[in-house]
Amino acid sequence: MLPLLPVTILHVNLTSKEIRVEEFDDIDVIKKFCGGRGLAGYLYLTRYDLTLDAFDERQPIIYATGVLTGTTLPSSGRTSVIFKSPATHRFFKTNVGGHFGGELKAAGYDLIIVEGRAEHPVYIDICDDRVSIEDARKYWGMDNRQINNAIRSEKKDEKVQLTTIGQAGENKVLFSSIHTSIYNAAGRGGGGAVMGNKNLKAIAVRGHKGVKVAQPERFISAADSLWEKACNNVGVQGLSMYGTSIGLAFSNSMETLPSYNFQTGYCDGADNLSGPAMVNSGLVERRMGCYCCPVGCHRYSVVKDGQYKGSYTGGPEYETLSAFGSGIGITDPRTVVKANEYCSLYGMDTISCGHMIQWLIECKEHGLITDEQAGVKLEWGNDETVVELTRMIAMREGIGDLLAKGTKLASEEMGGDSYKWAVQAKGLEQSRVETRSTFAYALAFAINSRGPDHLNSECLAERGGSKEAISLIKRITGSEKYAVSTNTEKRADIVRWHEDVYALGDSCGICAFPTTAQHWMDEFDIAEVLSAASGLELTSDEVMLMGRRTITLERLCCALLGYTRDDDILPYRLMNEFSPSKRENSGDNSTEMLERMKDDYYRLHGWDMERGWPKKETLEMLGMGELIPVVSKTITLP
């Protein structure tokens, strides 16, 4: 099969047990939305009812491999998982690496759409053209490591790749994650609970086919030159050596490392958690790579001494080290590895899970809960508390049942002022980025259709941390002077470019590191590889428009559900509490600053200023006019 022509979709209905394959070949839609994330969003909006409850069995969950996944394009092995989030009650895109996407492509499928709910736990078994729904009752209750081992043993094939949920997904923890290759997680938004609600424990895939491209010589020439660029990139080498927490100690020194539930930007001793420190101490045993990625930023860590001796897991990544480390005042990386292991096995988003613990500790400080009520000693820096609460959340034991609901619902139940230290917006806990000293991030987090999170844009370039970053900011804004993260000018332009290229990258299966974090693959490169692979001649402007339409479509999904610009906010703490850092002009994300940047952003997009909804004329201009009647039954577009 050739990338995009056609897009092969496997439909599985767990209620009716119907299995069918669709060859989607509407070239007009494909040219507008690409495949992967873009096409999945289009299919969701046009074929399914987004207004139904997230746990309604008619809501689909879509596994969308990247268009270029399965080829030798570097860092192209990623898969988007799309569903309605039970945490945010919004259309939710999440994205994962590992090896599931490459195997699914080898089996001959681009997308899997699962609808319905099985009568009892099942897994979907795919081996090339043979697809079946299998009984998984004996696997229910297993963790992610056990289920991978069990199904591979059952199949007598170690090469089977799986996407799975652990006990947290079964227990419908609202931030439970979906795992591939055991330790890679489509972490955010509660996709694990969506699978758990469908009684879907796993999807097992084995593929013996392969992927072809339309113009092999042209493709391999473009892909090879990107490999050369990657291998000669200093950032890639550093990331490969020390992983995503390579800059943690630097952030700490700049007082921008979210610590003590975003009350400070500095945590004494947190330098122990940095990538170089963990490599040098021997905690990180080796690197792990996603499908066809030259970077291998993923870690594999083993605790060799202390009370958590014997724990092992993929990770920990930067976000986990901040969520379970500096965020709680934990400075022993072995404790973070233990908590990370639980999250890997039970299947939970480490960002949200770590945040729940931070929030609960503050609840005690404000007199809203006691140690006796919680069943653990609530204080900053207590290793046992972190590990035990993580387990209790996954199992919904005791206070864990409240925490499993996420900070938005939990703070409503806890009452008092607890919403003030619930560092969430739209029902999603904020990623570990100090937005009070990085204002493109602040804007990007506020307008992000899924919540305050870095994985929809990742505007690292605004900090001007490298020659490439400064030159990118100049290309977007016209001047190098905007490569300063505490400047509020031109943030809308910076955010929109990053969102467009991020969405395009997701649709192609390309990781964020090449495009938005390390700048060794841009829209010109993507246009070239996508053209060579598919045979469609696409320009850089056309591929960026694919990204723009994806972002616009996802915004339309927000509008359909009644969300407006009033919902485009940051967590209370970030907007109302001051946090000094060593960056000039940092402080807080005031309403005034945010609203001004939001005005710029909506104007740039051609969305209306009152609600932040795409205007009809904007949709027509983008060639998305056919979507106007789709949403007009529910809302009136400006």
């Binding site: 030798t72 090896h99 013996h208 992927v211 491209v213 030259p294």
Partner: protein
């Protein structure tokens, strides 16, 4: 002469070697149609590239009952004459390195073994992490002895 050298401790399991090999030999990105394989134990983070290392013993060549296997005098790679091969699998059993195996091509089993891409192995070029290298025989022997 140069030989393939493997360092499993470096391998990150990305499988780029597999599909680079299949593309170069068969024009398709497929980890099944490959002369190299990654033996993956992802739960424990263990990955081992399995590929012919042009060993001294050449057990595969000696085990072949029909002399289908031979050694390329220029590159030192093991060659398979597929017309002679009777697909008995004795070479696979004889190889201690798991460097030779069957692939399924057009519905038929076929022996697959690294041909060093004629002396310029493509997988080595792509292995960013240098888990698979192509080195002078003496250097490889020194490394093996030091182990």
């Amino acid at each position: 002469m140069k030989r393939i050298n493997i360092d499993p401790s470096k391998c990150v399991g990305c499988r780029i070697c597999e599909i680079t090999c299949s593309f170069h030999h068969f024009g398709v990105f497929s980890h099944e149609l490959s002369n190299c394989n990654i033996d993956s134990e992802d739960a424990l983070g263990n990955f081992t590239p399995l590929i012919c290392i042009q060993c001294e013993e050449r057990s595969c060549v000696h085990s072949c009952p029909v002399e289908a296997l031979s050694i390329d005098p220029v590159t030192g790679a093991v060659r398979c004459d597929h017309d002679k091969c009777i697909k008995c699998g004795l070479c696979i059993k004889a190889c201690d390195h798991k460097g030779i195996g069957f692939i399924m091509l057009d519905g038929e089993d076929r022996i697959a073994v690294c041909d060093l891409c004629g002396g310029d192995p493509k997988c080595v070029k792509r292995c960013f992490i240098k888990a698979i290298t192509f080195e002078d025989d003496d250097a490889v022997c020194d490394k093996e002895n030091s182990l």
